[in-house]
Subunit: 276 residues, 2 copies
């Protein structure tokens, strides 16, 4: 593991590190905020998965999460959204290839060898974090924005017992029925839709739900509402009587200004599950 | 005036606007955060002046100020740091020309016609803001980072009665004695150092001080300490018995992670002067 940068931040340290990943077969970069409390012992961890076109950096500098994570003594992990590099397949579209890993393990060419973000976030990076940093991996929670909200919800529901709570900002809620999803799931996983099921939060909510509390925030003026399909997830949550809250936020769009506006609520929500 | 963008943010609106400026003789862009309270009447204003290489956007997306401004019902103005455009003089160095206006009215070629950021921030933009937005211009305060901290302090001391409070994050505190200053003041104002005096916070603190409270935060691990010369300003504040606080913050560097870490304190400080 290599230290890219470390900056003092809200009494803790905002670091950026890179490492060679078995899952993606290449060098990966991530951000990690460690609160002051980590000097005295392992602290709980909140994963933040980012959206299309983002790197590890966007949320780290724009979401304002460190202020509230510091208040609660919680670490924040900011993984990248895909493998990177000249030897990694890519596409001209912003929503496929590099910057658009969709948190799946690709089985189709040309994506299969590197695009394994599901394993990267679920196995590779947690193993590294547990070995290298003072983190209590028994206390994990997960959140994300847009494609990252999709990743957070699907990873959480597929790993019962691992994440104590899950939240999402404007998640891609039903990718199997959306142009933000069908294109990517076909490219990465092939045309057989049975392989898609665990990568669709609405389908997973219908099938199993989540074994802890859920918080979803969605801007009512989001320019991508038709692609995100929040109503499908809200209906599935209601039908399952899922422990959770779905909030439609008047006037908010898809930007980081929306994410930052409700970050305190999400940190409070996860802190109750992690520290309560 | 043209609306570039408006995003709902912490119950208010983060806007970006552009307008033709008499002071700089060209199109200027600025950010303005209006808190929810502005729907019901004029709100007080905190100016945030940015540092070298920044535009109106950096602090707007990275400093996390809107969270605390919303708490206090205060508007935030984020001006650009220089005139811009193909017809505006520039220099290859990051610290001269576009992105490096130093908050002065240039008198020397080739800078003189456009580089009038002092008048832009002190006259042009306030006039526009007062005419276009629900702002209480009787309640203004000013802050900034690095070159912007220099701008905030020098503007505040040169305009007694205008700003109720002034603060700065790692300001360029003594430019007349620093490589971040001598080069720019020579280029913009000429070699006669008597013209520099009102553009040096330490010299102005020695000469007049500020007619309100002052808050300075400086990272002890700032990589630019020798250029910033915070000790000169701290000594001048002490000698004058200036109403104010100078804090050397252990472990912090020059980045926005430092700025964001203490933004809540600065908003609390200004809110007491603006709303108290």
């Amino acid at each position: 593991m290599k230290t890219v940068s470390e900056n003092r931040c809200f009494g803790g340290v905002q670091g950026v590190y890179s490492h060679s990943s078995d899952a993606t077969g290449g060098e990966m970069t991530f951000g990690l905020f460690l609160p002051e409390e980590s000097q005295f012992g392992p602290v709980p961890v909140l994963w933040y998965l980012s959206g299309l076109t983002c790197t590890h950096e966007n949320a780290m500098v724009k979401a304002g999460a460190q202020a509230w994570a510091a208040d609660h003594g919680i670490a924040l992990v900011f993984p990248d959204t895909s493998p990177r590099g000249a030897d990694v397949a890519d596409d001209d579209a912003y929503d496929l290839g590099q910057g658009a890993g969709f948190y799946v393990n690709a089985t189709e060419a040309p994506w299969a060898p590197h695009f394994r973000m599901w394993d990267y976030v679920a196995q590779d990076l947690p193993t590294l974090l547990a070995a290298q940093f003072p983190l209590d991996m028994e206390r994990q929670a997960i959140t994300g924005h847009s494609m990252g909200g999709h990743g957070a919800l699907t990873l959480a529901m597929a790993h019962p017992g691992r994440y104590r709570s899950v939240s999402a900002f404007a998640p891609i809620a039903h990718p199997a029925a959306s142009d933000w999803g069908r294109k990517q799931l076909t490219a990465y996983l092939g045309a057989d839709e049975t392989a898609w099921a665990r990568h669709d939060a609405t389908l997973q909510m219908r099938a199993t739900g989540f074994d802890g509390p859920v918080l979803i925030d969605q801007g009512a003026d989001d320019q991508f509402l038709d692609l995100l399909q929040p109503e499908a997830l809200a209906q599935a949550m209601a039908a399952r009587r899922q422990d959770g809250t779905f909030r439609m936020q008047k006037g908010y769009d898809h930007s980081y200004f929306f994410v930052a506006s409700f970050m305190e609520d999400h940190l409070d929500f996860h802190a109750e599950a992690l520290n309560g």
